[in-house]
Assembly symmetry: D2
Homo-oligomer: 172 residues x 4
């Protein structure tokens, strides 16, 4: 059994649908604070984890500077297993920036199609899924959503279907 | 990228806390039907999965015959990635029966400390976590709970703490 | 004990925050169908109720014609106890149209500050509260929100605080 | 408009299914603390309320002394509108003790068939329903559950159906 199973992991939060909350006064979904601690408590997580609340924005508002900031946060991480919580709309772009840097770490991007604050959110499932992927996959960058794992250089979001697919074609 | 990332997986349901529901007439938690389809819908699971509702019992009521039935279901599975949803109280015993058989498959036992039907359940997180582990780990039997992965022959449930630990000692 | 306690009531649905759902593809809150049946099931409602799904719109989009339609639905109702589920932004305006008509019925407007589909919604509490008010108050039109009951001609929404107050001044 | 609409009310908590929580270590539903503050927050309650956490027990364990304690708590209440949160199994017995005392207050017993901590609980609906009933009904003792209101001397729990009915016969 390798040490990988005992290693701590790091979770880098950038916002996205995952973290949107309903603002009862404004009557809309906004960002106030991350749900990550609530999610880790719900998952009764026993693994020692480092949490880095880096950004709390809609991924459509991510600039190249934001993506480089995520890359640097990954590079600086002492943990080799990293989950990046990210909006789904530009998750693939950030994964490409991070994946292209060929860090010797396992970096798994995940997020949610439905906010954690909305009933029936996919956030808890996706977070658990991404964390196990980060602990077990070989070094590289991946997108892990809704029970599928994609390498960073072979994934696109199909916005009409609301899911991720291989650029090279699924189930070909 | 290996084929593993495209493979379907199998989920074998045996019951356990994961699947308990509140019976408003009896005023207690019982089994009526599995929550697994609701969980897969919530997780917006896009991976083709086979689901085998094998048992729906409290794991304290599992006999040796039940454990052998789980082993045979794993052996017969055409999918090499298998998640077994199991009660936590005797999850370790069943994992030993399955692990000792040295099947050439990755079999990951998981469950929940809080029923899916109760607010704040760890079931969605654990299911996602176990499924990624089943898709990525080498052949063998494992227990995956609350963000930790244990090999079948080095795990025990600490009933006082309500968590799983290595038999050989954690963080030694 | 008067017959009022055995009478059926009518619920007229017009939409509002109460009924907004998250659209995972669009990434926003929209209307698809009312949550009322789910709410009545959750409340284990044993009272025979008539449900009239009249509109499913944001109350900011309500026109005078819509308000007259609500009034006519109240007038035509064979039940004397009526709850109108309505968006909070213009609830007071519609209550004035209905209240001014002096129908010999008890008509209680309610809604939600947080959609039923969002965790921690006030919709179930408000629906129960409004329904009891409709069954017990004398004829007239009222706004019932968040455990307060207001007559139709002495209520305003304080949008900054996200609550309803008496026009004539609270706690004076 | 009478003062009744501005009066504060009192909520007396005695426990019951309403307040049961899942104990993940014991694997069963128990009492630890009341959910009432969480429920009032969820209902965004704006009415000034007094909360009296009197007991936290299963109503099957209520003795005559407990019932007299509830009666005295009602008698001592400075508020004339009182909701008593109570287990459903012996709610009727306690309502009879309180109702027989003919206090000049409106005392409404309510509870839940499904604990607040379980998904889809009727607790928020029932609490809102009972509170409006306590604010609007004439003095007397009542049972208010699942959208029905019963006078204290004409109600029984039908345990097979899991609902309350008039002793004198429903819909006769």
């Amino acid at each position: 059994m390798s040490d990988a199973f005992r290693s701590a992991a790091r979770i880098i939060v950038t916002g996205g649908t995952f973290d949107k909350r309903y603002d009862a006064i404004k009557g809309e979904l906004t960002f106030t604070e991350t749900h990550l601690p609530a999610l880790l408590e719900q998952g009764r997580v026993k693994l020692p984890l480092a949490v880095d609340i880096r950004l709390l924005i809609d991924s459509l508002q991510m600039t190249e500077a934001h993506r480089l900031e995520v890359l640097e946060a990954c590079r600086a991480s002492p943990e080799r297993s990293i989950v990046v919580v990210h909006g789904t709309d530009t998750m693939v772009q950030t994964a490409r920036v991070v994946g292209g840097a060929k860090l010797d770490k396992t970096i798994v991007f995940t997020g949610a199609m439905v906010p954690y604050s909305v009933q029936g959110s996919d956030a808890p499932f996706n977070l658990g899924f991404a964390l196990a992927a980060a602990l077990t996959l070989p070094a590289g960058a991946y997108v892990a959503m809704n029970a599928r794992i994609f390498p960073w250089d072979d994934v696109d979001k199909d916005r009409t279907a609301g899911e991720f697919k291989r650029t090279s074609g699924d189930r070909a």
